[in-house]
Amino acid sequence: MRDLDTAHTRIKEYAWEPDYFARNPLRETKYKIPRRSKDPFRHLVRDYMVMEEEKDNRQYGALEDVVARTRSPERAQHRWMEVLKPLLSMTTCAEYAAVKCMASLVDTVDNPELRQGYVAQMLDEMRHTNQETYLIRYLARHAPDPAGFNSALQSRSVNPLIRAARGAVFDVFLNEDPLTCSVQVQVVGEAGYTNAVFVAATEIAAANDDPATPSVFLNIQSDEVRHMANGYATLSALLAEPDNLPTLQKDFDAAFWRLHVFMDNFLGVVYDYFPKVRLRSYREYWEQWIWQDWIGGYVERLAPFGLEVPRWTERIRTDIAWGGHTCAMLAAALWPVHYWRHDTMEPDDFEYLEDKYPGWDRYYGPFWEQYRELADPANGALALSLVESIPPLCRVCHMPAVLPRPDLADTRLVRDATGRKHALCSEPCETLFREAPWRYQCATWLELYDGMDLAEYIERVGLLRSDGKTLIGQPHLRTDERSLWTIDDIRRVGVEIRDPLRDVDAATLPLIA
């Protein structure tokens, strides 16, 4: 084909308006969508297949070659490899949600230009899903510790923190008006966060002698750039209809909050607590990728069209300083329920964290000092004993309702008309809950397992290694047998999972309308 412009125009001329049967989308949209707009994703299937085949060959060839020749994953920093277990199980969830989200958009958005973009992205998202599951299996085969990689997509479901990831990047990416989901996935998720995930993780992985993750993540990110163009084209189309603006602003506000409350806190844990060789703090990455590039470069360019910076942005920027550390502390305290090993912090970590987050030592230092002491099963106590209690989990975002820092927490405990008690982590989550409480009725992890003995929980959800006694999660990276916690150690400690809401008298709580 000699004229690509003509070709792109031609392929869109096969759509027609049905006459014989009315076609209603599976999900209606509240937005007005122009019938024609700019084509963001100018690829024929032919070009797409050839291009992606070449990219696949590069990536899979590199991975297979790396294994055959160098056995590199074995030499990667063990602490970094551990966090790939939750990180990859979260990203696969998001990629797969995006497949179905794109199908929803194709179904609902009757605009041939946007549709072409969504179709190509749908294939990309399936590609990324498969790339990431391939990497999980690859690491199960070659990483120093396969446990947790080999169970990743099962273990993620029952993990108190990664369960919240499902809310942020699966349920929220799918269970809405498809255009609202597009704002979540493309405008905030891809334009805002994929650099913070795929580019930053690539840098850190490479610095920590992990060559596998960069080869997959950079390959993925080369597709994400086109997805950002898709999101921008969708936004432009929506902004072309002035009536859309109030709805779009509301969706935009909620989207940034929902993604932030999980993603920033999670990435804070990943980037500030798991690299052995450190490059930049998560706050520095956030300032570059989210604040300067996304808010400053992408979002503010939309101001002339009336779209404002998301409502809770200033608060989010402030919370970045502490939320990840609070989550890291809670995650470490809950190490027996994880499918990764949560390492101790050493003196150079203390120094780095205090340098990057002045005041860190005061608020979190004592916990990590004692955490190191309690990492030895011979001491007979769990790190869980270092926190007063597990905080309740937010009914909306399912994150611990103690953010950004225990003494700054914005937690609200309320009851509804039926007497059911709810913890809400913040004013934004309370706002979302008040708008549609019926959407947020799912039991939290603490409610599901309230009253269960910790050892019973570990056995029931499959958190033991194949010797039947050693825990997958460990509070350190040592591998001498005497340092490894077993189910017998947990039984000896005798801990019950306890939802703090259980002890709260509903009658004392304010009623939420």
């Binding site: 004229d3 096969y14 599976l26 294939l123 080999n150 499902r166 269970n175 011979a378 050693t470």
Partner: protein, 356 residues
Amino acid sequence: MTGPPTADVADGFYSPRELTYITPAGRRLSDYEAAICHVQPDVDHYDFGGWLQLAPDGKSLFEASSTRLRHPDWFQYRDPSALWQRTYTRQQAVEERAVAGLVDSARANGYLTDLDGFWARDILARHYQAYGCLEWGLFLALNRAIRLALSDTLTMMITFTAVDRLRHQQSIAMFGLELEQELGGIPEGLGREAWLGDPVHQPARRVVERLMAADDWCEIVVVCGLLVDPLLSTFVGRHFFRRFASVNGDPVTPVIAITAERDRLRFLRAVRALVEMVTAEADRSGRAVPAAANRAVLQDWLDDWAPPVRAALDAFLPVFDLPTMRPVVGEEARDVVVKECAAELERFDLELRGER
């Protein structure tokens, strides 16, 4: 830490170096299964406690009622082709390189200008391009099933099948554009005009529009795989365009058609696996499958859809009489596809009923 050090644990650290959360269909976990199984969260498998956010209308992310068929575990589905993105992309890249290379050569060697004028202008520009609309419509119909499908393995199979149809549509479109550029004098939009107005295409359009509006994802997949493809697409795509093109001096259409047939055959095997799964007495775990009720639903769909699909075959018959060279009589080709389709359905104790 006190006490003497003890020996390090062995390689593998007490854990298998293979994914443990997937029950393989065969003896060993395949690359295909590893690539897709359990990426879709499911509250009946590992994701206990329900969905964290319901839709504004209170609906769940996935509803069993999104299809009339019932199965205790849709995640047990396996696509017999075992294609995942890498292998699918590789396969489709090969197909597309073949088509593109052929078109380039045909153009360079003057084959396109040598084409029989009637075949090029009245058949390809009009009816083959109209057939491109059918492929686009099937893409849109299958796309709905992608969102609704109740497991990841089914979602991936349907995604690839939908994209197949988009590839076919674009191959037809690109060939049409080549002809217009090479031959000159062919008005744009003849195919779309035929699709929207020519009586020979209206029953097919009616079928496709109905499928585009369907909201039972299994119905879309089954009707497309067991009726529309074996009857309509095979009749028009294989028996007319592929067979007639060769004898009318057209080297390109048969290659496009053959690559499409290969995709349709792959989809047929995938649909067979789906039908076998829902008409088995028990699933892989031994749980009962409502096979009789499912078979009744399948037969209901077939009875409902077969007459309009067969009407689409009859409507297209006059096109068989148009070309100068005719390798087969339309009625005979129609009888062949009807017979083959009926035989396919008999595998599952299903019948092809309905008047022509």
